[in-house]
């Protein structure tokens, strides 16, 4: 499989890169996972540095590029974009940056979270950790996976994810994902989330 490269550190918009006709994109600003996590028949794959995923709007750019590669109406772009945004956010902040969302449950904790986030953003090793996103065809739909290099986590039961409740300390994101997908699986100790979207592809 051919791979193309880009440099997230000099971009202000990821969309022109992903619209460039390549299938799999590797960020020069990122450490590269070995082996790359996606299969040979990947529809679209991106490795991007954590810093790039913070600075650029990865989810809408990836979703739009994927939708353009599929037959019209093959997937709901709004559901894809909403779920992918949450998965990328989790991979970046809770995964690679190691930030605990429950810190945000109080205003005092929110200050601590802000400080921890700034400290992580100043760490070049953390900012170079890769986030991998790729899409592949599955029976009756499209599977989109997001993988980070963090410590992993134990996902909650699917039943507890179905009803999002407004709260400050996290948890809404997984509910938004669960509501948007047909199937949701966590592997690699919670470092990889695979979201299968219903579709006709």
């Amino acid at each position: 499989m051919a791979h193309a490269v880009f440099d997230s550190s000099v971009l202000s918009d990821l969309s022109p890169v992903l619209d460039g006709g390549g299938v799999c994109w590797l960020d020069q600003a990122s450490a590269l996972p070995r082996p790359l996590p996606w299969p040979d028949d990947t529809l679209l794959g991106v490795v991007i540095a954590t810093a790039g995923a913070l600075a650029l709007d990865l989810a809408p750019a990836f979703a739009a590029a994927l939708v353009r590669r599929l037959p019209e109406g093959a997937i709901c772009s709004e559901e894809l974009c909403a779920a992918l945004q949450e998965a990328v956010g989790n991979a970046v902040t809770h995964g690679n940056m190691g930030l605990d969302g429950s810190m945000r449950a109080s205003l005092e904790g929110l200050h601590a979270y802000s400080r921890a986030m700034e400290a992580a953003k100043a760490d070049p090793v953390i900012m170079g950790l890769p986030v991998c996103v790729w899409a592949e065809r599955k029976a009756g739909g499209i599977a989109v996976s997001v993988e980070d290099q963090g410590a992993g986590f134990s996902p909650p039961s699917s039943d507890s994810l179905r009803t999002p409740v407004p709260r400050a300390g996290g948890g809404m994101g997984l509910s938004i994902i669960a509501r948007s997908v047909r199937d949701l699986t966590f592997t690699r100790g919670g470092r990889r989330v695979t979201m299968t979207f219903p579709g006709s592809a």
């Binding site: 913070l54 600075a55 709007d57 809408p60 709004e78 909403a82 945004q85 949450e86 990328v88 956010g89 970046v92 902040t93 969302g101 945000r104 205003l107 929110l110 200050h111 979270y113 802000s114 986030m117 700034e118 953003k121 999002p164 409740v165 407004p166 709260r167 400050a168 300390g169 996290g170 809404m172 994101g173 509910s175 938004i176």
Partner: protein, 99 residues
């Protein structure tokens, strides 16, 4: 996300624009203070907010919590499209007055 605020004695109007996402979380403590410190009425104008994710929604929960603690009247106005739909689906209309 970009934020502007206009303060008039004990009232503040905050305008949030762009995309309010996990990438902005480092600013949230500052935004909560801007929205709630020393005010009795806080209006959040979301007319130019194009997208909000769950981390962005958590900012609004913090503003709500601080507002409850401080007896502040909170209103969200001009939420559009995806932002309005997302906030209503997540029951934010049970927390804020929507104008």
């Amino acid at each position: 996300m970009q934020m502007t605020s206009r303060r008039d004695t004990d009232r503040v109007e905050m305008t949030l624009s762009g995309r309010l996402t996990f990438a902005d979380a480092g600013q949230f403590a500052h935004v909560v203070e801007q929205a709630t410190r020393g005010v009795k009425v806080c209006t959040l104008d979301l007319a130019k907010l194009e997208f909000i994710d769950s981390t962005g929604m958590s900012l609004l929960v913090h503003i709500y919590d601080a507002g409850q603690a401080g007896g502040i009247k909170l209103t969200i106005r001009n939420a559009q499209g995806m932002v309005a739909d997302t906030l209503r689906r997540a029951s934010f209309d049970s927390l804020f007055e929507f104008g």
